[in-house]
């Protein structure tokens, strides 16, 4: 139980006042020398049992009256979250506010978002910890921000809704940093979160570190968690996964391009039926009715756009339980021309060039073949993907050029040289080529279908790696670890890769040559090379879409302002389309925010097992004024009841010894002077 005026509790010893007065009264007795002890002892024996009980009851009532009055004056609060604050308010309260997009979900009866509800609860709780210093750490900036008046939490800019994700472990680390730096005498950390699994990452090993840091704090820090998770509400979210513009071919479509919007719709409660989707593009809004058949549905929308034109738009869903995930933004523009440079000779190099630019009519994909001999003098600045298909190691100048280029963000694909192997570019080393046993070609057993060049297509189809049969292979190795994107049946890598600087190095273990197998057919080579090309193209063209909260301008001097001016937006945390000069970017909330999974509440104490943790479960159902409610009126009523009881007992003879019904003793005779005159008569 917490108290608004805990200092009143110092008056609690006053409860003993009636007893002390009683004792003093007893001590203040008069000493009487008495002769008729025989009756007194009898009376004492008879009277004391009930009378003593009555006396004790009276004393108890009086003590209780004072107890309840003092208690009422201390203004006690009930409610489980703040709990027993017998030691008074902590010196510092760190409020860790999760204001990720999922916190905009509406729960409870009030119809307010989880964030607003959490803020209301926190403000209420803060009022009752008035002596503390409040520091807000929210999920976007994670900068400790001292708050003068914690009751204004709800109206602060730093507590407004965002379209970002929250990183709870990082927020806790920020709080720990603050505690380590400022060394408050006593501190509490109040966390308000909806326990979204992606925000908490309970499987992460970071928690061990956090727990260890809590254990290392000099002061004991209590963590109070306001669990705002709620049951899944009627919510549908929309996200734009990609917005590509493809130039159309053919006479009829000359000068036209097609915008391909890849949308992802998620219905949290298994909503089925048709939903109206508003697509706004260049200020024109159109409505599309999308039939919703599954909980996660991918939609591809195609729009004709003028060729070479840039634009932006957004898709919107009607209002539902979470307003923050009802819109998604996109920016489109003419596809950047991606140039590939194949350094090598022979049919293998030709096949790679073909895979990099399969359609000569398209100007956005070009590929050149260069001789390894003059690789040192190549200008790779505008190249998105370079392929080393040489049979020898690059010479010193070529190696330097490639190293610098990859480190600046280029993507280099290395093909095996064949033969006895030897050194490759960027420290790559090729083992000797090995041939497969007859009739048992090398096959691909496993590959990364989630990420990387061999991931599934947008439509979810796997690449045909299972159909590859290699007669020959040559395995790469480097000084560092290589990540295997695909492995043969014996576990050796088919496609390995490694990050170097901000660029990437890939290496296939087979040449696209018929002598080596069917890798050259292109079923795998083409999409893989195209994806590597797209990856390398990111360096050349700034991204058109990014995640709010993660994206940073290339230089801090740039000024990015929202194209939509209907509400205040900040690129740091709001989704929207922002522009700086001619550049535009569409920021959307992270995909993880649309996932309804919540962390297992019961696991959290285990994560922070060394920390005093109080979890206010089902806080979403709790009214803000019920978090901590004052109960002094009840105390006063109780005190009054005890007063009545005391009065009744004090005035009634209920507990007193029974009065003798009739007395057969002679009443004391009145004084009657019989004088001698009467005697004479």
């Amino acid at each position: 139980m917490a108290y608004l005026q805990p200092w009143m509790l110092w008056a609690l010893p006053a409860v003993l006042l009636p007893i002390v007065i009683h004792m003093l009264n007893r001590l203040r007795y008069k000493t009487v020398h008495w002769a008729a002890m025989i009756f007194l002892l009898k009376a004492n024996r008879a009277a004391t049992r009930r009378a003593k009980l009555r006396q004790y009851l009276l004393l108890a009532f009086r003590a209780l009256i004072i107890l309840f009055l003092i208690w009422a004056m201390a203004r006690p609060l009930v409610g489980g979250w703040i709990g027993a604050a017998a030691g008074g308010a902590p010196e510092t309260v760190l409020i860790l506010l999760d204001r990720s997009a999922s916190m905009e979900s509406r729960g409870g009866d009030a119809g307010e978002s989880k964030r607003a509800h959490g803020l209301a609860l926190l403000s209420t709780a803060a009022k009752q910890s008035a002596g503390s210093r409040f520091v807000l750490i929210e999920n976007v900036l994670r900068q400790p921000l001292e708050i003068a008046n914690a009751s204004n939490l709800g109206s602060m800019q730093m507590t407004e809704a965002t379209d970002t994700a929250a990183d709870i472990p990082a927020m806790l680390r920020a709080a720990l940093d603050y505690l380590a730096k400022n060394r408050p005498g006593s501190a509490e950390i109040w966390v308000a979160s909806d326990l979204q699994a992606s925000n908490w990452r309970t499987d992460s090993s970071e928690w061990q570190d956090i727990d260890a840091r809590f254990a290392g704090l000099p002061q004991s820090v209590r963590v109070r968690l306001l669990d705002l998770s709620g049951p899944p509400a009627a919510n549908i979210s929309v996200a734009v996964r990609a917005a590509d513009v493809r130039n159309l071919k053919g006479a009829a479509d000359a000068g036209k391009a097609q915008l391909n919007l890849a949308l992802e719709l998620r219905a949290q409660d298994g909503h089925k039926g048709t939903i109206p989707l508003l697509v706004t593009r260049e200020g024109v809004t159109s409505q599309l009715d999308i039939p919703l058949g599954s909980s996660v549905q991918r939609e591809s929308l195609k729009f004709d756009v003028p060729k070479g034109e840039t634009g932006w738009g957004k898709v919107e869903l009607p209002a539902d339980a979470n307003l923050a995930d009802n819109s998604a933004y996109f920016v489109y523009g003419p596809p950047p021309a991606l140039k590939s440079m194949v350094i090598g000779e022979g049919p293998g190099a030709q096949r790679i060039r073909f895979a990099a630019a399969p359609d000569k009519a398209r100007t956005d994909r070009t590929a050149e073949i260069a001789s390894p001999a003059r690789a040192g003098g190549l200008d790779l600045k505008s190249v998105a993907l370079a392929v080393w298909a040489g049979t020898t190691a690059p010479d010193e100048s070529a190696a330097k050029t490639l190293q610098a280029w990859v480190e600046s963000g280029g993507v280099l694909l290395c093909m095996p040289p064949g033969g006895e192997g030897g050194a490759g570019p960027l420290g790559l080393h090729w083992e000797a080529a090995e041939n497969a046993q007859p009739r048992t070609p090398f096959r691909i057993a496993a590959w990364d279908e989630i990420d990387g060049p061999l991931a599934r297509t947008d439509s979810g189809a796997s690449l045909a790696l299972a159909r590859l049969e290699m007669q020959r292979r040559q395995l790469p190795s480097t000084g560092g670890a290589l990540h295997a994107y695909a492995t043969f049946t014996d576990g050796r890598p088919f496609l390995s890769g490694r990050k170097i600087g901000s660029g990437q190095l890939f290496a296939f273990s087979a040449q696209p040559d018929t002598e080596w197998g069917n890798f050259g057919d292109g079923l795998v080579l083409l999409p893989a090379v195209q994806r590597m090309l797209a990856l390398g193209g990111r360096r050349l063209a700034p991204p058109a879409m990014a995640i709010a909260g993660e994206w940073q301008p290339a230089s801090p001097d740039e000024t990015w302002s929202a194209i939509e001016t209907d509400r205040r937006r900040d690129w740091r945390w709001s989704a929207g389309v922002y522009q700086s000069g001619a550049s535009r970017i569409a920021l959307n909330r992270p995909a993880s925010e649309d996932a309804p999974e919540t962390a297992d509440r019961t696991r959290i104490p285990a994560l922070l097992h060394g920390v005093k943790l109080t979890v206010m479960a089902d806080a979403i159902e709790l009214k803000a004024d019920r978090l901590q409610s004052e109960i002094w009126p009840a105390m006063v009523i109780a005190a009054m009841l005890f007063m009545c009881a005391e009065m009744l007992l004090a005035t009634s003879r209920a507990m007193l010894p029974r009065r003798a019904a009739t007395s057969n003793a002679p009443e004391p005779r009145p004084l009657r002077r019989i004088d001698t005159a009467e005697a004479r008569a």
Partner: protein, 305 residues
């Protein structure tokens, strides 16, 4: 009348002079040794005719009723009431509880006044007076005598007596009952704070030997009213035991116990024909004695003066 000596200040000669017009009488015939003013159990030579009886040889012919002989030719002897003196034992409780008072006069002082006055009256009407002052251990006993010098001794003893020790009224009275050989008037002056059944046994014992028993039961008004309001530490006057209690709590039970005690005592005294009277210390002892003497005179057949 001469002023009493200072140490006999419990004697008020004014009271004595007023009371001296009354007789200390007994309700029963006594067996005195000398002629006195009290009716004797035997026949004597007073002027009061008692009865006739048949002549027996050797009878004094002076008391032969010749007229009856003339009428009936039979010898009848006239018998007359004998007047004899009285033996009186004043039994005075000198236990420490007698020190109690809520006013000016202690119970002991009151008792001494009654005892002294009665002693004075009795000796001056020619009766023998004995004194028994008893407490726990001390027992002062003066045998009954009629002489004025004995009165002085009695009064000196009274003046010297000090209330102390615990009471042993029951033992004292039983011993006394066994020791007094002749019928006597036994006047007990005490607070009687002892168990009633035992006390009544004593009275019964005394009455069995045909003693005339009078009891002055001395009570303080406060002992009856118990009008304390603050917590009080009651210290027993006799054994020093103390008891702290709230009078408000025990008052009713106390009164109930006291009334029970008084009721039983009163009833018992009536049953054994004990001349029992309760005296409150704020009453005048003169009035009490006057009523005591008057009642006895009324009950005495042939009371004189």
């Amino acid at each position: 009348m001469a002023k009493p000596e200072h140490r006999w200040d419990f004697l008020d000669m004014g009271v004595i002079s007023r009371l001296s017009r009354l007789t200390v009488s007994v309700r029963l015939p006594m067996l005195g040794s000398v002629t006195g003013i009290h009716r004797s159990a035997t026949r004597g030579s007073s002027v009061e005719f008692a009865e006739y009886r048949k002549y027996a040889p050797g009878d004094d012919l002076r008391f032969l009723d010749w007229r009856v002989f003339a009428r009936t030719d039979r010898f009848y002897m006239k018998e007359f009431e004998a007047d004899t003196n009285l033996r009186c034992y004043v039994v005075l409780d000198t236990s420490a509880s007698m020190k109690f008072t809520s006013g000016e006069t202690t119970r002991f002082e009151y008792a001494r006044r009654i005892a002294g006055t009665l002693a004075h009256l009795l000796v001056h009407q020619g009766d023998a007076l004995g004194l028994v002052c008893f407490a726990d251990k001390a027992l002062t006993e003066l045998p009954p005598r009629r002489t004025p010098s004995h009165l002085r001794q009695v009064l000196d003893t009274l003046a010297d007596a000090k209330p102390q020790g615990e009471t042993n009224l029951v033992t004292t009275l039983h011993n006394l009952a066994e020791r007094i050989r002749q019928r006597s008037l036994v006047i007990v002056i005490s607070d009687l704070f002892t168990e009633v059944p035992e006390l009544l046994e004593c009275f019964k014992h005394l009455r069995f030997y045909k003693h005339d028993l009078a009891v002055f039961h001395l009570l303080d008004r406060q002992e009856y009213d118990f009008d304390f309001h603050r917590p009080v530490r009651f210290v027993d006057l006799e054994n020093g035991m103390d008891l702290i209690t709230d009078p408000a709590v025990v008052r009713d039970a106390y009164r109930e116990a006291l009334n029970d005690y008084l009721g039983t005592l009163h009833h018992g005294c009536r049953e054994f024909d004990v001349d029992y009277r309760v005296n409150y210390l704020d009453e005048s002892y003169e009035g009490s004695l006057t009523s005591f003497l008057l009642q006895r005179i009324k009950r005495t057949k042939g009371g004189r003066r």
